[in-house]
Structures are given as C-alpha cells and as structure tokens.
C-alpha cells in the first residue's frame, strides 16, 4: 500500500548515516493504535505503535463505518485526556505578564509595595540572570525538565520562557496560575501574586504563543523536538532585529573591503594558473609543455577553474536575514547538557513558514545562513576515510525546519567542498570500499 511511501520523507539523520525508516508521524495515525502503547513499557521508544491498516477509499459497508466510528471514538477519548496534577507533586507556575519581577516583599508588609515596585523598571538586573522574555515563574521546580529549561533568579524561583512554559503546560507537567492582577483582583499590574486560578491550555496559548518572538511555527518546531527528547534552546538569531541592527553597519563596510580583497585574491590565483611563468595555454597544452613525472602533476595543472573553499573564509557576506537565521540550538538527548554552560549545539535550526516563503531560499540567503554557523569540518575518523561522507557532511551545516500549518519538514543544508577532494590523489583501491549513498528523496 501507499503508506510505506508516504513515510519516505523524514528527519535527516545527522551524522551522515542516513537511512530511511518509517516515520509514523508523517501521516494521521489511527488513534485506536494508541491503546497499543503500553504505559508499562518504561522509556519512550520501547513500544512504537503499529501503523494502522487504512483503506483505499470509502465503501458503503457497515464494517468500514464501524471501524471509522471506533477510530474517531478512540481519537476523541485520547484527546479528552485531562491534565491533572497530583497535589503531592504538582508543579505550579505563575504567569507574570510584565516579565521577570521580584517576588512581593512579604505579604504582611503592605506599605512597602510602592517602593518595591520601583526596581522592576530594570527587572533582569534586579532579580538575577533571567531572560527578559521569561514570563512564568515556578517556586517549587521539582522536575527533571528543569535540567534543561528555565533560569533561576535570586530567590531560587525558576523563570520559564514562553515556549518552555507552554510546552510544560501542554504535556501536563506544569500547572500555571493566573496572577491576581489579571483575573479581576483590583491590584497593581506589577504584582504577580498567585491567584490560584489555573490557566487553561487555551489561555496559555493566547498568553504565550506570540510572546517574546515566539510564533506558532517556532513553537511547532520547539515542541516537536522536545517531545523527541532533544534539548532545545534559543539561539542568538532568535530576535529578528536586535543583534543584527547593532552590528549591521560596521560589518557592512568591512564586507566591501574584504570582498574586494577576496575577489582580487581569487583573480590573482586564477591568473597564476592561467599564466604560469613557463607556459601559456593559448599556445600550448593546458598542462604545459615539459616533463610530467606523475599524473598528479598533470591533474593539478589542469585544475584551472577556481573553486570555493569554505574553510578560507574570504567572503563574509551579508548577515543572515529572517527567516533564514538560526533560531534554535538543539542537543541530542545523549549530549551532556548544563544549563549554566551549554555546550556547542549538535544542530542549528532555522524555522521557515512555508506559507509565507514559498520558494527555495536564494544562494545569498543560504550563504548568509551558513556563514552564521561555525566551521564544522568533516573531521571524524570515519569521515576521513570516506569521501562521500565528507561531501555529505560538508564544512558548515544548518537545518531548515519548514512548517506548513503545523506540519514540519526538516532539511539539512551543508556546504560541500568538492574542490577540496582531489580525486586524482585517491588510491584506486580506496574507491571500491567507499560509502555510496543510496539515491533517496531529500
């Protein structure tokens, strides 16, 4: 049936060892299969549900109608599952609409409130190293999730970014309460005291999904990867304007100079090849006349076409423009992650809304995006042996997450350096054992 093909597009496997497997998340699954997921099977991937059998087209049989109605019922039941929190281990957050603020001094000390609200003008400084976009604080942060999420303030409260708060609420791991100021209590808006009234999923989406640079495409990518166990953090490219605007001007003028030098450099190299001191291609063979003692010698003389060396960094182009900017750093579950000192990310992701950007990015957009990532040469031992893996891995890489109304496709873009692979220097024997990628849709 068509379903095996339907699943042919999948997350790129990242270390060059791509292999196609069935990705069940590619299409609507029969929710009756959900009941096959045993909660007993500890861990997440122990039992992956079987793909449900689907039919080609509706027919008027009662059987088909029954199965469909059972599927819909199963879906209804699965989606009705409540988010409830046992009082013993419930984690409560409080929504802070104006961002990170200090806790109210002491509940009894009413007269000092006006004074205390003053410092909130420069909140992040006052309360510790908390991201200004954070908007939910958790006073009892007892969950493994906080190993990779949130930032603590001076009062040991954990502050969550909108995507973190929404994700935790959505998965039933956090109960977020409205602050008193937002639910009709006649209180100052800087007061973020717990009102005990829980935010619904709907309210949380309304409050968080468009806050602090978040949008529904970015959130789809964030939660999709979080659900799979990746650690996802904001990258510096998150804010469209901020960082770029400040660094734009000096960089631009520098670019022009460097570009000039770069072009001149290429040109001079080109000329060196074209007009080697001894030979002239207009008159003689390209390889030049004279004695050639090895093929390497001849091939190197024949390579007269300049090529781009991604390691040379001659041409720092224009800065990456939204949406082709890295907005997420992603860490594999196996990568040891410390919130205070995050390691270099395993993947860098740019998020593109397929509805707003319907064509493939231009070379300059992609170039700028790749320029914004660090050099990541194919250096592993395995890759040093395998030509095709080196080419696939490239020297810089980035992942594009293309989102079409909630459906995310991931594409890995890498900067290959064919010019660096001198085929004539390869041993003929080595070729036989080389890794050959199977043709596949990418």
């Amino acid at each position: 049936m068509a379903d095996t093909d339907e699943a042919a597009i999948h997350m790129p496997s990242q270390d060059g060892s791509a292999h196609i497997e069935v990705d069940l998340s590619d299409e609507t699954q029969d929710f009756r299969m959900l009941s096959n997921i045993s909660f007993l099977s500890d861990g997440s991937q122990a039992s992956i549900p079987k793909r449900g059998e689907k039919d080609f087209e509706p027919n008027p049989t009662l059987y088909q109608a029954d199965v469909l109605s059972a599927s819909r019922q199963a879906m209804h039941n699965a989606l009705s599952y409540p988010r409830i929190h046992h009082p013993k281990n419930q984690i409560v957050g409080v929504y802070a609409p104006i961002g990170p603020v200090a806790p109210p001094p002491t509940t009894s000390n009413l007269e000092s409130i006006t004074e205390e609200t003053q410092p909130t003008e420069s909140p992040s400084k006052a309360i510790g190293n908390v991201h200004p976009d954070a908007c939910v604080y958790v006073a009892n942060p007892k969950s493994n999730l906080f190993k990779t999420m949130g930032q603590a303030d001076r009062w040991n409260r954990i502050w969550l970014l909108p995507e973190e708060a929404l994700f935790m609420l959505e998965r039933g791991s956090l109960n977020i309460h409205w602050p008193r100021s937002e639910v009709g209590y006649d209180e100052d808006e800087h007061s973020v005291e717990d009102s005990e009234i829980p935010m619904s999923l709907q309210a949380a989406y309304a409050a968080f999904a468009s806050r602090g640079g978040l949008n529904s495409e970015r959130f789809s990518v964030y939660t999709g990867l979080r659900r799979l166990g990746y650690t996802v953090t904001r990258a510096p490219g998150w804010d469209d304007e901020a960082e770029e605007a400040s660094s734009n001007e000096p960089q631009a003028s520098e670019n022009i100079r460097q570009q000039g030098a770069g072009l001149a450099g290429i040109y001079s190299r080109f000329m060196k090849w074209l007009c080697p001191p001894s030979s002239n291609t207009a008159l003689g063979p390209v390889a030049g006349v004279g004695f050639h003692r090895s093929y390497d010698d001849i091939y190197s003389k024949l390579s007269i076409i300049p090529w781009y060396d991604p390691t040379a960094n001659l041409n720092p182009g224009s800065p990456a423009q939204a949406p082709y900017r890295v907005v997420f750093h992603v860490y594999k579950p196996s990568t040891p992650f410390k919130k205070s000192a995050p390691p270099a990310p395993d993947f860098r992701i740019a998020v593109v809304n397929a509805r707003a950007h319907t064509s493939f990015p231009t070379l300059s957009q992609l170039g700028a995006l790749l320029e914004s990532t660090p050099l990541d040469p194919p250096s592993s031992e395995k890759m040093s042996r395998q030509l095709y893996m080196r080419l696939r891995h490239g020297y810089r890489n980035v992942i594009l997450a293309v989102v079409d109304e909630g459906v995310v496709s991931y594409l890995r873009i890498s900067e290959a350096a064919f010019g660096k692979e001198k085929l004539y220097k390869q041993k003929a024997v080595a070729n036989k054992t080389q890794y050959r990628p199977k043709p596949k849709g990418r």
């Binding site: 068509a2 599952y81 984690i91 039933g172 009709g184 999923l201 989406y205």
Partner: protein, 314 residues
Amino acid sequence: MESDPILLPIPISYIAGSYFLFSIDAVTYLRREHHICGVLSGTLPQIPQQNVFLGLPLKLMPEEARLLVEKGVACIVDEVNAQRAGMRALAADDRRKYLRELEAQGAHAMRLQTSRKELQREEALRKVQAKKAAAAAKKAGADAAPDAAGATAGSDEPAATENPSRRASTTTTNSEIHAPYGTTMGITPATSHPPLPYSPATSTTLPPPAVPPSYPLFAHLHADGYYLSPGLRFGCQYLAYPGDPLRFHSHFLVVAADWDEELDLMALVAGGRLGTGVKKGFLIGGAEHTRADDAGIMGEPESVRTFSVEWAGM
C-alpha cells in the same frame, strides 16, 4: 459524546497568526459533520514523548477556518485580547464559582485515581502471587519504571469522564504513587469556557481569515467530499483524502494554479511522477476565468476545473 449538542458558531481562536481549536467536542464535531480535520499540534499529556499521536490544540489552515466561517459554522476570535479582557473582568463571584467547580472535578479525579490504584494494586499483587507460585524465580517485570521524563505522576490518571473501561486498559500502574496526599487534583482545563463565556464578545471577533489564491480549489474539493490536509510533506499544497484520513490513504497531491498562470509542463510531469511514485494522483486545478480581466479576483469554487495526472507507464 456523539450526541452532545454543539453550540454554533464554534469560536476559532486566532493566536500568533494561526487558527486553533481547543475544545475536543468542537474538533470531533467538525471532523464528523464538516470533514474538517486540521492538524493536531499539541502534546498528549498521557504520552508526551512521541510525535506519532498528537493532541490539542488542533491547528486549522486559514482555508479551513474561512470555509467554516462562510458556512456559518464558526467565527474567529481574537483570543489574545478575549482572554486578557475576559479574565480581567472576572468578578469575585465568577472566581469563586470557577474555583469550586475545579475543586469538585479535582476531588472526583482523585477519588477515581485512588480507587483505580487500589484495584490495580490488588491485581498486581494477585499476579505476583500467581507468578511466584508458578515456578521459576523470574522477576515479575510488572513494576513499572516511572515515566522517564518525570512527568507528574498524576498525569497518567485517566479522564474522569466517559468510557472508563477503555481507559482502564490503556493506563497502567505507576506504582510509585502512594496514598493520596492532598484531597484534590490540580487541573489544567483545555478550554477557558468556563469561566469565560462560550460566545465571544463582538469586540473580539475577527473578519474571515485571509486565504491564499488556492482557496477556490480547496473549497471545490471539499465540496466534492474530499478531506484536505497541508501537503508540504509531499511537495504539494494539499493532500486530498477520499474519506477521513484516520482511515484512508490520500488520493491526490493537489496543486492550485490561476487560470492564466503560466505552467511549466515540467511541473506537471514532476508532479505526475511524484504522485505515481506514492500511488497517488497529481491533481492541478483552479477557478475558471471567463474573461482575462478577471485575473486577481478569486474565482468561485463552482467554476473550478481540475486535471489529474498519472504516469502512463510507457
């Protein structure tokens, strides 16, 4: 739940540039009665660590939202403002009433869980006994490890609502939980009604969604009984299913074009080839413009013409 009357128009939440539904009853109703499926985009709290089965909210394409508004089935709500204004306007009575309701639900959920835990514990004990008796000192692998991600233990508590038997089979012990500590569960409701009213204030309703030029084709296929979903994964605009995607494979990869839009034949061939490769047809179509100066005006779904392309195999 099938018989629950649904109040029309159903409010669709417009948040962060997208159209969302948070009510499971609305989702089920629209799927059953109007063939609108949307895309589930939320995390299922009962199994939060996978992407195969997703939960609420349901994200609607602008086309879907527009269609429902045009049918008079739904309206669009500026949810961000509706929430803020609505919650701020809560009176003390509203808050008290709402908290009491939640408390009652939480207590009910707690009772259900405790009694189920009892049952399960007894059953587990029986099994252990039986196994021990059976023979070999094999470990009874029944002691479930706690959820790896440390989801709150309470989250494996099934719905306090319908269909307890099915639920019982899907949920199993999380024997880490001991006797209840408090008396009520904390609850994160899916929707904000209550305490907010079901129907939005007129000040927070929005005009029908803006839709891409492919809308007439979307509406045309929908009117023909097809279920449509976003098609990016297959390099097209929509996937068209002959029935509910829960149960049927899609028939077409759909791409829309304007009546006089220049089509590269290569796109037709590429689409045909791609479709045939996954046993689907490639369908291209658009609204017919009788006059050239109609260009730019969105055509009517009734005037849409479509063409199906398949590889001929020769």
